[in-house]
Amino acid sequence: MNATAVETLVPILGSITEVREETHDVRTLRLDLADSEEAESFTWRAGQFVMVSVFGAGESALTITNPPAQKGFIEVTFRQMGTVTSALRRLSEGEPVGLRGPYGNSFPVEEWRGRDIAFVGGGIGMAAVHAPLWDVLGNREAYGEITVMAGAKTVADLVYRNEAGRLRDIPGVRVIQVVDPGGEEPGWDGEVGLIPQVFERMGLSGRDTTVVVCGPPVMLGFMLQATTRMGTPPSQVITTLENRMKCGVGYCGHCNVGEFMVCRDGPVVSGEVISQLPNEF
């Protein structure tokens, strides 16, 4: 037995070092690796994901939500949904987790230099736009106008709601919060409506704006239609696919769509790539 080899499907060990409640069912965890050398060498690019282990429950593919400049630890934001995320929610600060990764491709933030960028997240989809947003803002002067549109069913479901103030303080950053009709509260000063409709009437220049959009498949479909009408080339509409995954490295077959293994060839894809894939995501 080769004890020194790091087996692809065997996680490295870490623990929860901070818990932040985002909404009643969405949480952000800071995770630190147990081994300081492993922590030192753990680097990633915005858009990559990790397989987070809760021992006894299994693994869940979660996008890394903090920007790569924050070395030494990672953050993940998850909604309590299935077996593993429910078990993950039962863990507290100090408790162990396993990590594999980082896996997948990343957002082409270098290619966006000089362009306006709109980051659009529906529900827990905000988690996937968080790392590229803060990666871009870490190099603010290289980019044009930044628009952040965060949507949810209700005001109470808005993920990263308390970040809006910090974002608005950054020059050239506009923040719009949107809730579904009926999801507003007394005194709500954000938008009410469906994200694709609100987005389309904001008057952004379709041609000059790169649109990074993550959310439920239905919302994604309407956003692709909206951006087409706005004149945004499909290559400048970027999203992430969220297919079920088990291995994260292209063996297990679960996330296969056409010639694509989402874990290996994605999860970041442009509208151009999506139009070539069978509709199985």
Partner: protein
């Protein structure tokens, strides 16, 4: 190119093959399974190792490289400290003997999946310990269709050593296909008679005779392209209408490689296993949210065929992820014939193209 080969009589063959366990090899050979079916089994019995068998085994030999279920690690929690314990790995050489050419070709398809970058270490370790001895087919069964997908009853793909029982004569042609195969035979091969051109020709004729007894139509050369364009074709509903989603086709398949990873045990101790899984199952793609990209059985059946005959070939220089063993045809409780299904889809796609070329509505 000069071929390395020897002619052995049955005694010599049995003396050599039967002695492999004594030389420290773990030998897997065809035997009768618990229900009377032919099954690959670990054995030390020289008779069984040397005997040979008609037809094919019920299940493919893939489990000896990619087990039905294997432990990735065991975990133990004490307080907030986790300990992961990897299962021990055997360093014994493993000899798979009596594989049909389709079986060995199937292992090569698994290699494409598990030996990509990064390689799956558990698979790679077993692969490096394994020597494959293929035995040419002396007959074809009604479900065999290797010749329709580019294979041959005498094929050597994936073989380290290759055996042909020369019809009724009791003479066995043993060929070294790889260096690994030569080395396994090297201790005894000096005492064996060298095979002649006539022996190789006889083996070739024999394979040709078995080939011509397979009456199944070759798939069109452009099958991957034809299928690629047929994703929305109504024929999928027709060919998949009988599918009950049991997944036996994927379990029996020598090249199906999909797996699940699951934890068993509790929070204090347990293990993480990977086990064969099937794209035929509704849960295979179902998100935690309940959203399912392939909600219908026909979509799942389409995925299996598209993966084997369109997606995989497009990424592997046209190589199909089907070796024509026909086990899925033998075992499908609904009577689905994958060869017929692919022909139907390719045929429909070609008719659609032709219609489009001629400007005829299709």
């Amino acid at each position: 190119m000069e071929q390395a080969g020897w002619i052995l009589d049955e005694e010599q063959w049995k003396a050599w093959a039967g002695s492999l366990p004594a030389s420290g090899c773990r030998v897997i050979a065809p035997a009768r399974g618990p229900r009377g079916e032919a099954a690959f089994t670990k054995t030390d019995d020289a008779d069984q190792i040397a005997r040979g068998y008609p037809g094919k085994t019920q299940m493919s030999p893939k489990e000896f490289l990619f087990p039905r279920s294997e432990t990735l690690f065991e975990f133990r929690l004490a307080g907030n400290t986790v300990t992961l314990v990897r299962p021990p790995r055997s360093d014994n050489k493993q000899v798979l003997i009596g594989l049909r050419p389709c079986d060995a070709a199937g292992l090569r398809r698994l290699d494409e999946v598990f030996l990509q970058d990064p390689a799956d270490e558990a698979y790679e370790h077993r692969r490096n310990q394994t020597v494959v001895i293929v035995e040419a087919c002396t007959e074809a069964t009604p479900s065999c269709f290797c010749t329709a997908v580019g294979g041959s009853p005498g094929g050597t793909e994936g073989a380290d050593l290759h055996v042909t029982r020369l019809g009724g004569s009791g003479r066995i042609l043993l060929r070294a296909i790889t260096q690994t195969g030569s080395e396994l035979a090297s201790a005894a091969s000096a005492s064996w008679a060298r095979a002649t051109e006539a022996d190789f020709a006889e083996a070739g004729d024999q394979a040709e005779a078995v080939s011509s007894s397979i009456r199944r139509q070759p798939l069109p050369a452009r099958t991957p392209e034809l299928l690629e364009g047929s994703f929305e074709a109504p024929e999928w509903e027709v060919v998949a209408s009988a599918c009950i989603g049991c997944g036996i086709c994927t379990y029996a398949c020598p090249s199906c490689s999909c797996f699940d990873i699951a934890d068993t045990g509790g929070a204090a101790c347990g293990s993480r296993c990977r086990s064969w899984d099937s794209c035929a199952f509704g849960e295979f793609t179902k998100h935690a949210s309940g959203h399912n990209p392939r909600p219908k059985q026909s979509a799942r059946y389409r995925q299996r065929l598209m993966h084997k005959f369109a997606y995989f070939p497009s990424q592997h220089a046209g190589q199909l992820m089907c070796v024509g063993c026909g086990r899925c045809i033998d075992l499908c409780p609904a009577g689905i014939d994958i060869h017929q299904a692919v022909l139907a889809l390719a045929g429909a796609a070609r008719a659609a193209h032709r219609g489009a070329d001629e400007g005829v509505p299709v």
